[in-house]
Assembly symmetry: C2
Homo-oligomer: 232 residues x 2
DNA sequence: AAGTGGTCTAGACCACTAG
DNA sequence: TAGTGGTCTAGACCACTTG
């Protein structure tokens, strides 16, 4: 079997959609018809169509048929890792602070907790070639059994910090990206003496019950970071 | 049939992975064993496993078995639309320029064309509540039959501009995000009189042969935009 | 009533992995 | 050699849509 039948079906139909032979909203031949066309059973045809549906090319309406999907024009996938981006990679970190704090009203609200709940505060600086390029703050809900080993924390990305206490596959993550002018404290940490923009990335992590388990803010020197995304 | 058998299988196994009953690398019971456990045929079991594989929970090794996947810790999905973001939405646009130009060396390189190829240049301002919030530049490879209707261009997002000449499902898109300090020209367009950071978003579009068909840069006032992403 | 997709079965043969 | 996943079939019954 050089190439399975269902893959030939997938490739053929995908090609027709890419070349606009089949346009969004058009009906695809019925599963019975495709089976006859390719000399395949209905289950084999369905396997191919399931793949196309999964890739976002088609959708089906029970009782009616399969149809070409309208493309998602504005979806992008971005791989964000505090320590690595497309123009830069962190080669040194400095742990400024690890402490247990009681949250203020704003933080308690963000983390959906009361003000007497313990929170771990971690502040770090990221360096590239000896230059400080980012100032990083993390707040983690303290969980019993959570390892606060400084050596581990210093170089960990945010999800990694939680790997001991939360099953990572249950983690839901949110990202917010914006630009800002640095305040005096950050200017000092990042050795900024002239006008410079910051790229700010906020992360928020939720457990499987959709409760926040941590949030973080990273302030990058604008001249040391580019985030990249792509469709698909 | 209240809930199909294959969905029960999916939910059971997904639950076990989320609760760390099954950990990354662990083997899942064989398809035969699962079939006996759920009183289902092997094809039904496989349908469930295919869904889990597609969701990124498991993977399979032929001849060995199905295994729990290590989670993707840094993948985020972001919906980017020039005109809409999480804190702001453009309600007016102003077309500054639509013209056909010959690219300079830099642009020709970016678009992988020779300097005698025609390029459409579009410059726009985006407004929210009467305030200019973004300055937008687009370069499109001129294709014969391309509609340059000013009314259409003024309010279109980048992929929409190409909808007449390129099958949109074949479009591959790239995004680059960074922060910068505004230059004099942009300060003038965006009425910036004090220190302010810009969020800059570059878009590059490719056709099905992976040749660039357009690129765009949008300069947002840092106080008027936040981009958001999420896992899944 | 005829056609469509959704679910499911009980087999089959293959290629691969492991002891 | 026994067990595993990968492909495939030829049926079946169901719920749904359309005329």
């Amino acid at each position: 079997m050089v190439s399975p039948v269902y893959l030939r079906i997938v490739e053929d139909i995908r090609e027709k959609i890419s070349n606009a032979v089949l346009k969004p909203g058009d009906a695809i031949p019925s599963e019975k018809a495709l089976g006859e066309e390719y000399g395949a059973s209905r289950m084999t045809v369905r396997k191919g169509l399931a793949i196309l549906a999964n890739e976002g090319y088609i959708y089906s309406i029970p009782g009616k048929g399969n149809f070409v999907q309208k493309p998602e024009l504005n979806k992008y996938c971005i791989c964000y890792d505090e320590m690595n981006n497309s123009i830069n990679s962190v080669d040194k970190t400095k742990l400024l602070e690890v402490s247990i704090i009681m949250p203020d009203d704003k933080l308690a609200g963000e983390l959906q907790i009361t003000r007497n709940r313990n929170v771990i505060l971690i502040r770090r600086l990221f360096y590239t070639d000896g230059t400080p390029v980012a100032y990083d703050i993390k707040y983690l809900l303290y969980q019993k059994g959570m390892p606060i080993v400084e050596k581990e924390i210093a170089h960990a990305t945010f999800p990694e910090m939680l790997s001991g206490s939360v099953p990572l596959l249950a983690l839901r993550k949110e990202l917010t990206i914006y630009a800002a002018v640095p305040g005096e404290e950050i200017k000092k940490y990042l050795n900024i003496y002239h006008e410079l923009a910051l790229l700010v990335v906020e992360q928020k992590l939720y457990n499987s019950e959709n409760k926040p388990v941590g949030m973080g803010i990273t302030y990058y020197r604008g001249d040391y970071i580019k985030l990249q995304g792509a469709s698909q």
